[in-house]
């Protein structure tokens, strides 16, 4: 502020020296320049700092369901401040472009956010990741057009192009797989694909390095190579590994924004981008740990056993006990504690509301009900919790694996709906199995296990589950939702 006043005083002193009205335009130009820079830019930076602090407080709010709504609002408020600061800074190049662009984006955003179903949340988040990534790529590209000799900013632009483009195509393909579009149904790969990917990555890094003297041609090449790279990286990955992929792409979208921050020398992009980058990395790590696989294994290795897999007929022969709704209803009569174990099959069958109805019925007769959530249940981190919250399941009944595992032995009936690999005891017993060492929900400790499942077909890991043949396990064959509805009817009759 003081700087501004001084500038104006200086101008006032110099003013009389400018004689003719011809110089009026020049005076105005000098004056605006003096007022708008550089102190005005530091005001803008102060505004960006406020926005960054709001982002941090916003994410901090996410540490508890009670404060999360407020946290999200703080984040949105921070974004509003950041956008207002840009608009007031007088640096917006074209107002019509800015306003129409934001109008279109806002309309699209509102429509997407309001029409999406909770089961489709993973593909929506994947799409949004991709949008953020491509936006950063374009920002860096447009900045390169302006700069003639960018130096370090050129390298940063290269990195933005690389990370952002990989995020874009990777996310689109992940979204296609999650939406189960027929084109993406099968993991697709060719021999030597990893070498091609590695080659593209090295090519991209080299081009980034060469971009310190700022060439548009190199940038276009780099973006094209990276778009191909993103495609090649995600195509071979199967549906059940998607939680890891989305978490990783989430991280990349943040890192792309941070890299764009280096290009345009803007703090708030760097801070917000790195916060998101860190968030995605942590979630990626949690997901990998929950599957006992390394990130490299999820991304590059085929999912297979190190020894011969057990034969399904041998595991199940003569030991499968099938049950009916009436039988289960009788079994549930007089129990004290029931644990539901939901898996992705529950989401597919849209059975979350039926589960809630059954739980209500049980609770009305004094039964304690809880839900055991495996970290990789569903198609993205925390997906199952959102689906159950949608069905009005209170969040204090949603239990994490480590919390609920020691208590399965005090559980009368565990009802598993649409989950398979995450309750397969082979993970603990057979070191050569593809899921060896994966932490599982110890449902077999419960007095009785009811498996609601269409058939004895294996899960994503493609191996039989000896739990189905266990003495305390009853198979309730059928569609998840229909089975639950039948069970509710049987309970009401009984």
């Amino acid at each position: 502020m003081i700087d501004n006043l001084l500038d104006m005083l200086l101008l006032a002193q110099e003013g009389p020296l400018l004689k003719s009205p011809d110089n009026a335009a020049e005076v105005i130009e000098v004056a605006t320049e003096a007022i708008s820079s550089p102190s005005a830019i530091s005001w803008a930076n102060l505004g960006y700092l406020v926005a960054a602090v709001l982002f941090i407080l916003g994410i901090k709010g996410m540490t508890h369901p009670r404060t999360a709504v407020r946290g999200n609002q703080l984040g949105a408020f921070g974004m509003l401040i950041a956008v207002l600061v840009v608009m007031l800074s007088g640096q917006v190049v074209s107002w019509p472009v800015a306003l129409i662009g934001m109008l279109v984006g806002t309309a699209g955003g509102i429509w997407l956010a309001n029409t999406v179903q909770m089961t489709q949340m993973p593909q929506l988040v994947a799409l949004f990741n991709g949008f953020g990534g491509i936006a950063s790529v374009l920002v860096a590209g447009s900045e390169l057009i302006k700069a003639s000799n960018p130096g370090f900013a050129g390298f940063a632009a290269g990195m933005t192009g690389l990370i952002g483009s990989v995020t874009f195509t990777g996310s689109l393909i992940a979204a296609g797989k999650l939406q189960e579009l027929p084109q993406f149904k099968k993991p697709w790969s060719f021999g030597g694909q990893q070498f091609v990917s590695a080659g593209l990555l090295v090519f991209g890094l080299l081009l980034s390095w060469m971009m310190t003297d700022g060439s548009g041609v190199e940038y276009v090449l780099l973006v094209v190579a990276s778009l191909v790279l993103g495609t090649l990286l995600v195509l071979p990955i199967g549906g059940a590994d998607m939680p890891v992929v989305i978490a990783l792409l989430n991280s990349y979208s943040g890192l792309a924004a941070a890299a764009a921050g280096f290009v345009i020398n803007n703090n708030v992009l760097i801070i917000a981008g790195s916060l998101v980058g860190a968030s995605g990395l942590i979630l990626t790590q949690i997901m990998c740990k929950a599957m006992n696989r390394s990130l490299a294994n999820v991304l590059f290795a085929k999912f297979e056993a190190s020894g011969p897999a057990a034969d399904a007929d041998e595991v199940y022969a003569g030991k499968i006990k099938s049950t009916t709704a009436e039988e289960v209803a009788m079994l549930l009569d007089g129990v004290q504690r029931v644990i539901f174990v939901p898996g992705y099959g529950l989401a597919v069958a849209q059975a979350q509301h039926a589960v809630r109805e059954l739980a209500n019925l049980l609770e009305a007769s004094g039964v304690s009900v809880e839900y055991a959530i495996h970290p990789v249940a569903g198609r993205m981190p925390g997906h199952m919790n959102v689906l159950l919250a949608e069905a009005d399941v209170p969040y204090d009944q949603l239990k994490e694996m480590d919390e609920i595992n020691p208590t399965f032995s005090q559980c009368d009936v565990a009802i598993v709906i649409g989950a398979n690999d995450v309750v397969n005891p082979v993970a603990n017993t057979d070191p050569s199995s593809p899921i060896a060492g994966m932490p599982i929900l110890e449902v077999s400790e419960a007095r009785t296990v009811i498996m609601i499942k269409r058939s004895l077909s294996p899960g994503f890991a493609g191996i039989p589950n000896p739990l189905f043949a266990a003495d305390n396990c009853l198979m309730f064959f059928g569609d998840g939702k229909k089975a639950l509805v039948d069970l509710i009817a049987a309970l009401k009759e009984g």
Binding site: G132, V139, I145, H383, V386
Partner: protein
């Protein structure tokens, strides 16, 4: 702002991110992801500053549309999800 200052901010912000996000419970991982995703739409600031010439303007426009989609859609859908999380009565 020189490169080292920018790098310092970058590295420190990552540490802050790791610290606070490690405390988010698994129940909220999906909203955390969509919410932080909306924050990564901060690139909108860069998009608004972009432009200059036909190509710069065009790239800027497309960037603004995508970034705004990311921001508005991300925050709204996160709000929709979080509003569903309720404690027992």
């Amino acid at each position: 702002m020189d490169i080292i200052t920018a790098l310092t901010i970058f590295v420190l912000a990552i540490f802050i991110g790791v610290e606070i996000i490690s405390k988010v419970p698994p129940t909220l991982h999906t909203p955390l992801m969509s919410g932080s995703n909306a924050i990564s739409g901060i690139t909108l600031v860069g998009a608004l500053l972009a432009g200059g010439g036909f190509w710069g303007g065009l790239l800027g426009f497309v960037a603004i549309v995508f970034a705004t989609l990311n921001v508005v859609g991300g925050f709204l859908v996160t709000h929709r999800m979080l509003a569903m999380f309720k404690k027992k009565n």
